[in-house]
């Protein structure tokens, strides 16, 4: 559901508290809601103390990888000898994910505050908020909020009257999923094609403009002021299952579901409750077939696995998939898994930057083999061929775009093999697909 709407009683409303409240968008509105207090607190602390607080809270990257944010910040050089940069990854493009957009649309100052605290912690004087080019509304809102923050002294030479100087700018993307990959994002800021870079060196050593850089997702950074305000212990207590997964997570739910939208839940929340309780279950007369829980890049879960899955990093791994960005794509019994996997593979084939052979060729082959199967011209060995290609596409390339295509397709073949075989043996009517 779009905002404004009342949260479900079983949501844990932290990041989304002011979603739908247009007054929270202004500087004054944000301050009236307690905004910028966490920044003042952080500025009074030494950078290592801020990092320790975030480490103690257990905050992990919300963009997909789940790497501990405080540990990432700690990779930055201890002794500052050259400019440091913070990049906020707002290139939200993972199919099924639409949470960062809401954070920017409704609480732009919350994100600015989080960026300022992080910049202080890693001693960066410049922050780039990289927003995908299509998010016209979010870009306009963030630009307005940044101008206001400069006017009010929250940004610039003396942040909040302190000795700390931080500049912050929006950098608009121009249509490329791959720029959400952190090294591609840095290249895109530098005015280059968005090709991912080989690591090492890691961004904390050689990042944007070859300087030490930290890249964090919007949701990660927006969580930081809450940790400073309410303490690491409070944040850590937001945990229903594994203590390694703490805080809240904005789950974007879409596809075949009664009430699609963003839902903020405590880490460890049961997927079953999210689907049937918060989201109102399936559309009338339909039953659940499958869920891709972490954006389209992760293995698909069948109904049984999905209903038993706990929404945190470990809970998803236990079911053979990943929490990823928290973009849940729900498929009901009317979904054609073969067609949908072809559509997912088409996405990756379109978005491949084409640097690595396994990805450039593998994504295209996957699409064409699936189209052949859909057209009724497939053979049983094509399924083994797809799995074999998928294996060659996994763990062998500069970034994980290639793996992201292989994971859903391979898991669907293993879990819904009957649907693929039905096209091959003629039990299912061919689907004409434009090649």
């Amino acid at each position: 559901m779009g905002y404004p709407h009342k949260p479900h009683p079983n949501e844990t409303v932290v990041l989304s508290e002011h979603f739908g409240d247009a007054e929270a968008r202004s500087y004054d509105g944000w301050v009236q809601r307690g905004g910028y207090e966490a920044l003042k607190k952080a500025l009074a602390m030494e950078p290592p103390a801020v990092i320790d607080e975030v480490k103690a809270a257990g905050l992990r990257g919300r963009g997909g990888a789940g790497f501990p944010a405080g540990v990432k910040w700690d990779f930055m050089p201890k002794k500052k000898t050259q400019p440091h940069y913070l990049c906020c990854n707002a290139d939200e493009s993972e199919p099924g994910t639409f949470k960062d957009r809401e954070i920017m649309r409704w609480t732009p100052h919350g994100l600015i505050e989080g960026c300022l605290i992080a910049a202080h912690a890693i001693r960066a004087e410049t922050v780039y908020i990289y927003i995908r080019g299509e998010f016209t509304e979010a870009i306009a809102i963030m630009e307005r909020a940044l101008a206001e923050a400069y006017d009010r002294g929250a940004l610039g030479k003396r942040v909040m009257g302190s000795e700390v100087a931080i500049d912050m700018y929006v950098h608009r993307g121009a249509g490329a999923y791959i720029c959400g990959e952190e090294t591609a994002l840095m290249n895109s800021i530098e005015g280059k094609r968005g090709n991912p870079r080989i690591r090492p060196p890691f961004p904390a050593a050689v990042g944007v403009f070859s300087k030490p850089t930290t890249i964090n997702n919007v949701e990660t950074l927006a969580s930081v002021p809450h940790i400073l305000n309410r303490g690491a212990a409070w944040y850590k207590s937001l945990c229903l299952s594994n203590p390694k997964s703490t805080g809240t997570k904005l789950m974007s739910v879409c596809g075949h579901i009664a009430k699609p939208g963003n839902y903020e839940v405590t880490m460890g929340f049961p997927m079953k409750d999210l689907i049937y309780d918060l989201c109102g279950g399936m559309q009338p007369g339909r039953t659940l077939k499958a869920v891709i829980p972490g954006g389209s890049s992760v293995p698909v879960l069948n109904r049984e696995e999905a209903e038993g899955c706990v929404l945190d990093y470990e809970g998803c791994v236990e079911k053979g998939t990943m929490l990823g960005s928290g973009g849940m794509i729900v498929f009901d019994d009317s979904a054609d898994m073969v067609y949908q996997m072809m559509r997912i593979a088409k996405f990756y084939a379109h978005e491949s930057c084409a640097q690595c052979t396994q990805c450039r060729e593998g994504t295209g082959w996957t699409v064409r083999i699936l189209q052949k199967i859909l057209a009724g011209e497939g053979a049983l060995q094509d399924l083994d061929l797809l799995l074999d290609i998928g294996e060659q596409m996994t763990g062998k390339t500069i970034c994980v775009l290639s793996d992201s295509c292989a994971a859903p397709v391979g898991s669907a073949i293993r879990k819904f093999r009957g649907e693929f075989e039905a096209y091959i043996n003629g039990a299912r009517r061919p689907v004409a697909v434009a090649v």
């Binding site: 199919p95 080019g133 800021i189 530098e190 075949h256 996405f347």
Partner: protein, 165 residues
């Protein structure tokens, strides 16, 4: 009769040059101003011509070939003129599950565009299919010029297009 080639009118003069110079202050290199500069060209001219690539290359100290390499990487930069209203419709998996194909059909029919990527004979519309617009819970989203529109269905297309004459 011979047609005289229209002289290329530079984009980065006067106030626009000053605006670009302000943007360049944000970055330690001139090269980093390329994406913002390309956006400025597209806002002014509606698309990015070869002449414009040559101009921006000169302004930023790059080669035209390098600029073209960047322009062709990003899908939102137009390398040819498009209709007055440029419509991007999402058809990626979540939207596909929710009937995006019907929205595409309705858009093509109502705009008179013969196929995806083509401009309508009256020059008013170009419809393109794009990958995930990042609004999957509000399927099907469209981007018409800079307007982000959610929850579009085949039924709402005719009324919606009335706002884009």
């Amino acid at each position: 009769m011979m047609h005289e080639a229209t002289a290329y009118e530079p984009v980065f003069t006067g106030e626009r040059r000053a605006e670009l110079d302000r943007v360049l202050q944000r970055y330690p290199t001139k090269q980093a101003g390329l994406l913002p500069a390309l956006w400025m060209i597209q806002e002014q001219r509606g698309w990015i011509s070869e002449e414009a690539m040559v101009e921006v290359a000169e302004v930023l100290g790059l080669t035209p070939a390098y600029v073209e390499g960047v322009v062709t990487f990003y899908t939102m930069y137009h390398r040819h003129p498009v209709g007055k209203h440029f419509i991007q419709v999402c058809t990626t998996t979540p939207c596909n599950l929710c009937g995006a194909e019907g929205v595409v059909e309705a858009l093509l029919e109502r705009t008179g565009c013969r196929e995806l990527g083509a401009t309508s004979p009256d020059g008013r519309f170009t419809v393109v299919e794009v990958e995930c617009l990042g609004a999957c819970g509000f399927a099907t989203p469209l981007l018409i010029n800079d307007d982000f529109i959610e929850n579009v269905t085949p039924e709402t297309v005719p009324e919606l297009l009335k706002g884009y004459q």
